[in-house]
């Protein structure tokens, strides 16, 4: 049975909705509208006047090899962050699920990284991998490996991926553990009696039954990698070296605020807005209908 509250007039619902509408208008619709508007202009070299160019900014962007490279960078970065954070989380959740004693302590400790702000996490990892004074790079040096993410693009990418995934593992872990614990024990036991060893059980029973959780996390983590990793990238690499860690969101910032090309930056925001829209549709289409089996 659906429970519905019905109002008599229009006034009360309107009053109740007003704060949300104002917040959305001021912080979402207005800036979004402004971005769309600005994306149609280019400012003159002195920033005194702007000239209307229609879809010129978009045309220019799609033809720009740097922008297209940023798309590829974003794709690589998002896939790596999603795979690393979800893979680690699933592995830890499997271990925690088998644990009977002390699982509470284990769980609490694993949740902590989630409480660390991305920028702070970025600084932590930056210290550890600092080319001159970092602990990890010092040990790598002992092993004969010369770590230098300031010059090496792949190493820079690796570092921002690790730093971005780290806090995320906690979040994914909680969902995976809840998903695992929702699988009835007797189903696993029945499979064991039917002859399935651990990995067979995982492949044929556990993973399929976990698929709604996995799919939900997939979307959530992609969104995270796309939009919420700004702090990590800004503190660790600043998008470099040679733009090798400039993901789309970072490029909006560096082109707009650093490069002062507001028209292009606005156009990039509008493109990202579309990406968010698509991801949201995917999320609603598949996740609202949770039952996959």
């Amino acid at each position: 049975m659906e429970k519905r509250v019905t109002f008599k007039g229009w006034l009360l619902p309107l009053i109740l909705l007003t704060p949300q509408i104002i917040v959305s208008a001021v912080f979402f619709f207005y800036p979004a509208g402004q971005a769309v508007w600005q994306s149609l202009f280019i400012p003159d070299p002195f920033g005194l006047r702007s000239q209307f160019v229609g879809l010129g900014n978009f045309e220019y962007l799609l033809g720009d090899p740097y922008y297209r490279a940023s798309f590829v960078t974003t794709a690589i970065f998002s896939i790596l962050v999603t795979v690393v954070s979800m893979g680690m989380a699933l592995w830890l959740a499997l271990l925690a699920d088998r644990l009977i004693k002390g699982s509470g302590v284990y769980r609490t400790l694993l949740i902590w990284p989630y409480a660390v702000a991305p920028a702070v996490a970025g600084v932590l990892w930056l210290f550890m991998f600092n080319t001159r004074v970092g602990v990890v790079s010092w040990y790598l040096g002992l092993l004969g490996y010369d770590w230098n993410h300031v010059l090496n693009g792949s190493e820079a990418m690796g570092l921002v991926v690790v730093a971005s995934s780290w806090g995320r593992i906690s979040y994914n872990f909680l969902f995976f553990l809840a998903g695992l614990q929702a699988i009835p024990r007797s189903v696993i036991e029945a499979a064991a009696i039917d002859g399935a060893h651990f990995w067979t059980r995982f492949r044929t029973i556990v993973f399929p039954l976990l698929s709604p959780t996995t799919f939900f996390l997939l979307v959530v983590n992609v969104v995270y990698a796309f939009f919420e990793t700004f702090g990590v990238i800004h503190t660790i690499t600043g998008g470099g070296p040679q733009q090798s860690t400039t993901i789309l969101v970072y490029k909006v910032f560096s082109d707009g605020f650093v490069g002062q090309d507001l028209g292009s930056s606005a156009a990039q925001s509008v493109i990202l807005l579309f990406v968010v829209g698509i991801l949201t549709v995917v999320q609603f289409k598949f996740i609202e209908r949770r039952v996959h089996y």
Partner: protein
């Protein structure tokens, strides 16, 4: 087909002991029912045989091979769970075929075995469905089918019928009995329902707080309970316990089944009692009396026999052959 031997099995969870030494020799093809009240350790005992719990002490042998350390999959047993434990994302066919696929049987053989089992269990129209599209009774059959197709040495059942309604339970009970007789597979069957135990068992184990109070054929256990617990647990309505002191016997209590009680005129029986109420069930009538000591006594008589008025006093009588004496610890005393 196999023998199962339990030799002085103990089980503790940490410091709590739940099974205190159970032994039984199960013969090939025998149907053993483990019956007892909730929490007495029936499931734990069965799960130790399945290999889902470790054995704290004692030895389990299946077909004369020690299996204490063997994994569940290496014991050649099949189990039917109370909640059926079907694989929710697989069709009925895949549920039944799962174990066979893992055993890498040829495709034709798998299809053949599943088809035979489906026919036996009237599941043929449902092979393509998912478990959630089946009724409780059909799910129960799928769980049975999954056990049958593997042709195991033994079946283990943990209260397989307790989630079904009363009518379906009677029907499935008969089907399980028929199937087991047809296949001749050694079975251990856990239930807390004494009617299931009486009707299904070749022999039953009556468990009480982690001990096997009595092991024997159902009618033997019914007629000759070895402890007051068994006398009280088996039989419905329950056995009457009368205070030994009031009847001049050297025993703590004296047990008489309701059907062995006869009514007599007040003062003409062994003891007088007041009728509190009568339950007419059609074929029979149950009369509930209260003794001067406060104990409650139930008698069972033919539905056509006259019923005394509630509140009236009557004498109760029974033959000495039908009374069983128990000492203060609930252990049976020799008659006399």
């Amino acid at each position: 087909m196999a023998t199962i031997k339990l030799d002085n099995i103990h089980k503790s969870f940490g410091k709590t002991k739940v099974i205190h030494g159970v032994s039984i020799d199960v013969k090939e093809g025998e149907f053993i029912v483990i019956v007892g009240p909730s929490g007495c350790g029936k499931s734990t005992l069965l799960r130790m045989v399945a290999g889902l719990e470790t054995v704290s002490e004692g030895e389990i042998r299946i077909d004369d091979r020690r299996v204490n350390e063997a994994e569940p999959m290496d014991r050649d047993i099949a189990m039917v769970f109370q909640n059926y434990a079907l694989y929710p994302h697989m069709s009925v066919f895949d549920n039944m075929a799962y174990g066979l696929k893992i055993a890498r049987l040829p495709r034709a053989e798998i299809e053949d075995r599943v088809a035979t089992a489906a026919k036996m269990l009237q599941l043929e129209p449902y092979l393509a469905r998912k478990p959630r599209e089946l009724s409780g009774g059909q799910r129960q059959r799928v769980a049975m089918g999954r056990a049958i197709v593997r042709k195991p040495a033994a079946f283990l059942f943990d209260e397989p019928l307790s989630n079904l309604d009363a009518k379906l339970r009677v029907q499935m009970r008969l089907e399980i009995k028929a199937l087991q007789k047809e296949l001749g597979i050694t079975s251990l069957y856990v239930t807390h329902d004494q009617i299931e135990a009486m009707t299904l068992a070749d022999r039953m184990i009556v468990m009480n707080a982690g001990r096997a109070d009595q092991i024997g054929a159902p009618l033997e256990v019914y007629a000759n309970p070895q402890t007051a617990f068994v006398a009280g647990f088996i039989g419905s309505p329950a056995t009457n316990f009368l205070p030994g002191a009031d009847l001049g016997v050297q025993a703590q209590s004296l047990a008489v089944r309701p059907e062995h009680m006869e009514l007599a005129a007040p003062g003409k029986g062994r003891i007088d009692a007041t009728l509190t109420f009568a339950e007419a069930l059609g074929a029979e009538t149950l009369l509930h009396f209260r003794l001067a000591s406060g104990d409650v006594v139930t008698t069972r008589q033919d539905g056509t026999a006259p019923v005394p008025a509630p509140g009236s006093t009557a004498g109760l009588n029974w033959s000495e052959d039908h009374q069983i004496l128990f000492d203060g610890n609930g252990m049976r005393l020799p008659a006399g």
